[in-house]
């Protein structure tokens, strides 16, 4: 069975079609976690609000990490908060994705010189897409979420789960938690 799974660069003949079906379902029910740390959280709220209405794409906010697929780093991340966010990330069930929203989560942004702010979410989390803006408009966030949908669409998820591949982007940090 393992040999069959391993076949081919793009995935295997057994799991390929199942993957497509699963991806279709996963793509259209992208639940993000209601979790904002700073200014971007306001735009995150507006995204779920009536003007942008992220529900149109099946993107619904969930209050708990156990039910959500996407972690949106909405705002400045301080060192005090970083270990908590990593903890939340570990609590989410695979497959999971991370969006860095706004300048602070991208690179630390305007607080790069500050003593208390982590210079970018990718220093302790595997970030999939980066949204520029300070804060980004709610439509930018929808664009970012739609990029995650594109990523899901092409992903050979079952193969990854089978072979237990680790995310190469994930910076494992000892002693953070």
């Amino acid at each position: 069975m393992d040999a069959m799974v391993e076949q081919g660069p793009e995935g295997s003949f057994v799991l390929g079609k199942v993957d497509d079906l699963l991806n279709l379902a996963r793509k259209n029910s992208l639940w993000y976690m209601l979790f904002g740390t700073a200014c971007c959280a306001i735009e995150l709220m507006q995204t779920g609000g009536p003007r942008s209405d992220a529900d149109r794409f099946g993107m619904v906010f969930r209050a708990t990490p156990r039910q959500s697929d996407t972690l949106i780093l909405a705002g400045t991340i301080t060192y005090k908060m970083a270990s908590r966010i990593r903890l939340l990330y570990e609590q989410m069930a695979e497959p999971k994705y991370v969006i860095a929203m706004g300048s602070c989560a991208n690179t630390g942004g305007l607080f790069q010189e500050s003593y208390a702010v982590v210079n970018g979410g990718d220093l302790f989390l595997p970030v999939d897409v980066y949204i520029p803006g300070c804060p980004p408009r709610s439509e930018s966030l929808i664009e970012g979420l739609m990029l995650i949908q594109q990523k899901i669409e092409k992903e050979p998820w079952l193969k990854k789960a089978w072979t237990n591949t680790k995310n190469p982007k994930d910076p494992q940090i000892e002693g953070l938690l």
Partner: protein, 190 residues
């Protein structure tokens, strides 16, 4: 007995006040919906619907830049890096590099207010999502060239807003061309 009466009174008030609220909610069935169906079901692209002063992603027109670095001096967070070198033979100033780190920018508009030649400005573009954060370090100089020398009293020829930045953010999944765009060739050659 009084307590029992109060209990039922409270239930009655609850039902009454809740139905008041429900009436308001119900009236929304007959109001105009306000959702903007971004991205594809709008009458025109959203960037065209944004107000005139809207501060989107920064863009720089190489044909107008004089390399004076007023903008980078005004920037409180140093997210603009300008490299101007003097050609020893012709005494011309060559603009080698003009990098704006959009991933760090805070969209305050101080650089735009500082620029006297309308070379740097906020476009209305907001769709800049990328998969590699280094791609947000955008080098607006494709070919090192002499800096612009605007004549006095002449209005600069402006390109349409957003036409410069759009091509740099076109392919969202492309990796950064160069790991660090601090090298001279750090553009997004596609």
């Amino acid at each position: 007995m009084g307590q029992l009466a109060e209990y039922f009174n409270a239930i009655g008030r609850t039902i009454l006040t809740c139905s008041d609220g429900l009436a308001v909610t119900f009236s929304h069935l007959f109001r105009k919906p306000i959702t903007i169906q971004y991205p594809d079901r709008t009458a025109k692209p959203l960037t065209e619907m944004l107000p005139e002063r809207s501060r989107g992603i920064l863009e720089m027109d190489q044909e107008l830049c004089t390399g004076c670095s007023l903008c980078s001096k005004q920037c409180p967070i140093n997210c603009i890096t300008i490299d101007v070198q003097k050609n020893a033979e012709t005494k011309e100033r060559i603009l080698n590099k003009f990098v704006i780190d959009i991933g760090k920018c805070m969209f305050c508009g101080l650089c735009v207010e500082a620029c006297k030649f309308s070379a740097i400005r906020h476009s209305k573009e907001f769709e800049g999502t990328v998969s590699d954060v280094n791609r947000l370090k955008i080098n607006f100089v494709e070919q090192p060239a002499p800096v612009a020398k605007p004549k006095k009293g002449e209005d600069p020829v402006l390109k349409p807003v957003g036409s410069i930045i759009r091509k740099y953010l076109a392919d969202q999944w492309a990796p950064a061309a160069n790991k660090s765009s601090d090298t001279n060739s750090g553009g997004k050659s596609e």
